[in-house]
Symmetry: C2
Subunit: 338 residues, 2 copies
Amino acid sequence: MNQPSDKQHLILTGDRPTGPLHLGHFVGSLRNRVMYQDKYQQFIMIADAQALTDNMDNPAKIHDNVMEVALDYLAVGIDPSKSTILIQSQIPELTELTFYYMNLVTIARLERNPTIKQEIILRNFERDIPAGFFTYPVSQAADITAFKASLVPVGEDQIPMIEQTNEIVRRFNRLAKKDILVECEALVPEIGRLPGIDGKAKMSKSLGNAINLGSSEAEIKAAVKNVYTDPLHLRVDDPGHLEGNVAFIYLDAFDTDKEAVAAMKEHYVRGGLGDSKVKARLETVLQEMLRPIRERRQEYEKDRGHVLQILKQGTEKAREVAAKTNAEVMAALGLKHF
Amino acid sequence: MNQPSDKQHLILTGDRPTGPLHLGHFVGSLRNRVMYQDKYQQFIMIADAQALTDNMDNPAKIHDNVMEVALDYLAVGIDPSKSTILIQSQIPELTELTFYYMNLVTIARLERNPTIKQEIILRNFERDIPAGFFTYPVSQAADITAFKASLVPVGEDQIPMIEQTNEIVRRFNRLAKKDILVECEALVPEIGRLPGIDGKAKMSKSLGNAINLGSSEAEIKAAVKNVYTDPLHLRVDDPGHLEGNVAFIYLDAFDTDKEAVAAMKEHYVRGGLGDSKVKARLETVLQEMLRPIRERRQEYEKDRGHVLQILKQGTEKAREVAAKTNAEVMAALGLKHF
C-alpha cells in the first residue's frame, strides 16, 4: 500500500446511496476516511447517479438514501471542515466528461473489464444489462479525473476499474498533447471484506446479514446473538475453531484490546470458553463503539436542513474543481466556440 | 409523409460538422428547412458532439467545420429570425440527459439497432466500436426529447433511430408516472438520396464525388464535365438512356423548367441530343442556383464574428428549452436536493 502523506494528494472515495451503511463499510472504508482526512485532501462522493444505473426502477430509494448516507458519514466522524462531501448527480460536468470519454473506450474493452463481467453474473444481467451500467467504468473515470484524484481507495476486485481510468487518462492526454488529466493509484485497505453475521463472505443489506451503523442497542444485541461462530463447538469444554468464526473476526476488527482478544482465542481453541462469553464481550465492544456513532447520528437527524447545507457547500466546492477540469477537456476537444 | 402545418410542431434537424455541405444535403434536407422555417418551429443543430463519436482523433476538424456548416446554412437561406441554429456541444444538458437515458436502454437493444449495425459494417468497427459511437442513438434521443421535438426529418434508413427515441420516451414517462417527454414522428423527405457526380448512390465528400454548396464557378464547370451520363451513348445520334444518368437526375432535382427537361429527355432517348448539350443546360442551372448561395456565403464569411453571434443566440435560446426539460427529468429521477 502506497500512502504518501501530504496534502498534495487528493483522495476520491464514496458510496452508492442504496441503503444505510453498516459495519462492513466502517471496516472497509469509513474508518480509513476519518484518518485520511487529516493526511490528504479528501472528496467523498455520494454516488447517486451511479446508483441509478441499476436502480432506475426506484429513484426515490436512491434520493432518500443520499441523506441517510450523509448522516452515516457525519456520525462516524467525517468532518466537513476537513473532507468535502458531494452529491454526484449535482455536478453535471461529470456527465459531460463521461459523454466524451465514451469515445476513448471501445465496447470490446468494456466487455473485458473483469469487474463488469463479475457484476453481470451477480445481477443475472447477461445482454440485458442497461447501457448505463455497462459503461459505468467510464463514468467512474470521469469522477476520478474531474477532481484530479491521485489516490482512490478500492478493494482488490476494483483494481481493473483504476486501470480503465488510467487508460482513459493516457489516451486523452496523448490526444490533447498535454497532461491535462492525472493518473491515479489504487489505495487498497489492509483489512479486507468483513463477513456478514451469518458467516457469508460479504456483509450486505440485501443479504440481511448486516449490522447498520445506526442500529439501536436492541438491534445490536439481537444481531450479536445470531453471529455465526463454530458449529462444532457444542459444549463449553470442546475445543473451538477460529477459522470462519465471525465472533472472533469481529473482535479482531473492533476490539482495541488486542491482548485480551489473543487470550480469549487461546482459551477458546483449548476448550473451556463458551460462545456466550465471547459474544458478551463482542456485544460490549460493539455497543461501546456504536453508541457515540448512533448518538451523533441522532443529533444530526434533528437538523436535516443543516446536513443538506453541508452537502450543498461540499458539492459547490467540488463542482468548481470539476468545472475547471471540464473546461480544460472541452478546450482540448475543440469544443470552445464562444 | 405527415406534415401538420402549424407552429405547434417543433422540428429538430441538423448536421454533423465533418465537412462542407453539398448538393446532396441541399436536396435531402437544406431546401426543405427553408420551407419548414415558415411552417414550424425549427431547431437546427450542428451536431459536433455526435461528430466526435467517430472523429476523436481529429477534434480540430470538427471545431472548424462548425463555422463552415453555419455559413452553408445562412447561405442557402436559413433565416436565424425564423430557425434556431444551435451548437450541440454547448448545451451540457444534452449530455446529462444522455447519461440518464443510458439506464433505460440495454446493450442488447442497442446491438439490434439496424442503423448501428450498418454503420459498424461501413466503418469496419466490429467490436472496436467506440462506446460513444455505439450509444449515439441514446444521445440522439436526448437531443430530440430535450427540445420536445415532435417532427424529425430523417431518411428511411434512420427510422429505427426514431423508434429507439420513442421507446425511451415511453419508458421514461412510465417511470415518471407523467408525460414529461414527447414522442416524435419521422418526416421522410419525398426526394431521396442524390447520387454523386460519378453515379455512385451517395454524394459524399469522402468519396470525392460531391459538388459543394460553396463551389466556385470553375469548380462547378469542372464537376459538370465529369458528371456520369450514359456510357452506351457514344454518338450523338445513338438513343440514350436515362436510368442512372446523373445529368438528368440532377436536372430533375434542380431545373425548375420541368417541361424543358421532359422535352430534353424525350430527345435524348430518341437519339440526336448530345451529352454536351445536356451538360451545358445542367451547368447553367447549377451556376444560376449556386451563384446567389456562394455570394451570400462570401458576404457572411466577411464577418464571422456576426455568424458566431447568431450561433450564440440560437444556442442560448435552445439551451433554455433543454434546461427546462432537463429539470423536469432530474426531478422525476429524484435528483433534486437543493
